[in-house]
């Protein structure tokens, strides 16, 4: 693995008195794609939410680009370069596509420097996002609540890219989308990966994940049950199947 961009150690997190994560270790290197898997309720979403302060962090340490961000409020973690595409997408429904994209956009100079010299990738601009997602360009003046699920997902990805992230985090990247749109999303993520962007992705589509990811981490009951390079996936298919319960 290359130098870790995101390094989570011993993370315990949950909601109020309900603890969901019990000491999760997970790292994502620069330019690396990590697939986070597990059955429903095993803590994938809680893990992602706790990164940006949406779930309560109880113990452990989160480092981002060499900086300890464990005690940062969520918005500062995001500003340090973590671009989140949340489950359910959550576009701003009263804003149109373009407004959604620019409302939270940051120019590269505005992003807090991600610690010790993470190489600056090509900055994201509105034009570049539209070139990536021509569909969004066509719908640029439609409001968030008038978009299809696929369009909303593209918008959520575009919105995250415009915050100039060094790590893109997608929770349920293709959930509830039509097969063709899913293919689109996977292709997009592939392009982003070849552009050098690090990605942490949660999804159920093992085959697509195996093509895209470098490594996988499987959560079971709030702990890491299994982790390794994706080349393992076929060898360990039966164990994996037991943990995530899908073929």
């Amino acid at each position: 693995m290359s130098r870790p961009l995101l390094q989570v150690t011993g993370l315990e997190a949950g909601y109020g008195s309900a603890q969901v994560l019990f000491g999760v270790d997970l790292a994502v290197g620069e330019g690396e794609v990590v697939a986070l898997m597990g059955r429903n309720g095993m803590g994938k979403t809680t893990f992602i939410r706790s990164l940006v302060g949406l779930a309560q962090r109880m113990a452990g340490r989160i480092e981002f680009a060499g900086v300890d961000v464990t005690r940062y409020p969520g918005y500062r973690v995001a500003r340090a370069g973590l671009g989140l595409v949340p489950e359910g997408r959550h576009v701003f429904r009263s804003l149109d596509v373009e407004e959604n994209l620019v409302a939270t956009a940051r120019s590269v100079g505005q992003a807090i420097s991600a610690g010790d010299g993470v190489p600056a990738p090509e900055p994201w601009t509105l034009e570049r996002v539209y070139e990536f997602f021509p569909r969004l360009a066509e719908r640029r003046h439609h409001r968030g609540n008038q978009l299809s699920g696929g369009e909303q997902q593209m918008l959520a990805i575009g919105r995250a890219l415009l915050t100039q992230p060094s790590l893109l985090v997608l929770d349920e990247a293709t959930e509830g989308l039509a097969p063709l749109i899913r293919e689109d999303i996977w292709r997009t993520l592939g392009r982003l990966k070849s552009g050098g962007l690090a990605v942490l992705v949660v999804d159920r589509d093992l085959r697509a994940l195996a093509r895209l990811a470098d490594r996988y981490v499987i959560l079971d009951k709030g702990q890491v049950a299994l982790a390794g390079p994706v080349s393992d996936l076929s060898e360990r298919a039966s164990t994996i199947e037991r943990h995530i319960g899908v073929a």
Binding site: P73, Y75, L84, F92, A103
Partner: protein, 302 residues
């Protein structure tokens, strides 16, 4: 189109030489500015303030106090009033904006009551009774806002300016962030923006705008009293915003026009005019989903 017509009527009325109607136009413009300033909070930011009259009252008292010190020029009084209001907005906003929902409503109310009781306690300024404006505000060139025609045109100009500023603001990046925070605050934070500084800035702008209306009101009634900042006035502002439809800028201005118009009409007929006004609000909520603004803009009826 209809708005243009309304504005044209407002511009013609003062020329007819009927002081009553001229003052009515001025009153509508003044409350239009106040309602619009509250709409920035209620409509765009989703912050229901129940203490907005405090800033109106600050404008009223500035317009009353500064002439005592020999200052009558509008270009001193208005900036001072807006600045004082913005400062009080900053002070109270720093605290109240940490709360949301019902708590925000009550904290803003509490901050308004503080100003109200301070004004009421100022014996030398007449306490609860308030005081008569020692002198009106003067425009450059010496025209006096005590003249209803001058006041009406000045406040109409201020209203048009305020509408323009509010529109620009709502279309700006700043406005988008404020709306995004209203739609989904958690998400905005997860995208790396804290809504707090944006809301605080908006709160200060809305406070300052409302003080501008207050300066006009002091000149209209030639009087400054704590009543101008009571919670009842805050409630009336909210009434206007809801009547017209929030988050439309022009809607609350129409709401203010209808409110002031009905107030004059109904209070001439019956002393229980508030009762009938209440019925109007109920009808608006039941019949006009998009408020008066939606009715005029067409297709808003449901």
């Amino acid at each position: 189109m209809l708005l243009g017509l309304l504005l044209a009527v407002a511009l013609i009325v003062p020329l007819l030489g009927q002081p009553y109607y001229t003052r009515l136009v001025a009153r509508m413009a003044i409350f239009g500015i106040a309602a619009l300033s509250l709409d920035l909070l209620v409509g765009y930011a989703g912050l229901v303030s129940f203490g907005h009259a405090a800033f109106f009252g600050i404008g009223v008292y500035c317009a009353g106090l500064l002439p005592m010190m020999g200052v009558q020029q509008v270009w001193v009084i208005v900036p001072v009033a807006m600045l004082v209001a913005a400062l009080y907005g900053a002070l109270s906003g720093l605290i109240s904006l940490r709360a949301s929902g019902l708590y925000f409503i009550f904290i803003t109310l509490a901050f308004a009551e503080i100003v109200f009781y301070i004004a009421q306690g100022l014996r030398m300024l007449g306490g609860d009774d308030g005081f008569r404006l020692p002198a009106p505000t003067l425009l450059p060139g010496g025209a006096s806002l005590a003249n209803p025609v001058v006041l009406a045109y000045t406040m109409l100009a201020a209203l048009v300016l305020a509408v323009w500023v509010a529109r620009r603001l709502s279309e700006s990046h700043f406005g988008q962030v404020v709306v995004a925070a209203r739609d989904n605050e958690t998400r905005l934070r997860a995208m790396g923006l804290s809504p707090y500084p944006y809301r605080l800035a908006l709160y200060m702008i809305a406070s300052a705008l409302c003080a501008l209306a207050g300066v006009g009101f002091a000149n209209l009634v030639e009087y400054a009293s704590p009543a101008s900042m009571s919670w009842v006035v805050s409630g009336e502002f909210l009434f206007m915003v809801i009547l017209g439809s929030a988050a439309t800028i022009v809607g609350p201005v129409l709401g203010a026009v209808v409110f002031v118009g009905l107030e004059q009409l109904l209070s001439a007929v019956t002393e229980h005019w508030l009762f009938w006004l209440g019925i109007v609000l109920v009808l608006r909520v039941l019949l006009l989903r998009q408020g008066i603004h939606g009715l005029l803009a067409g297709g808003g009826q449901r």
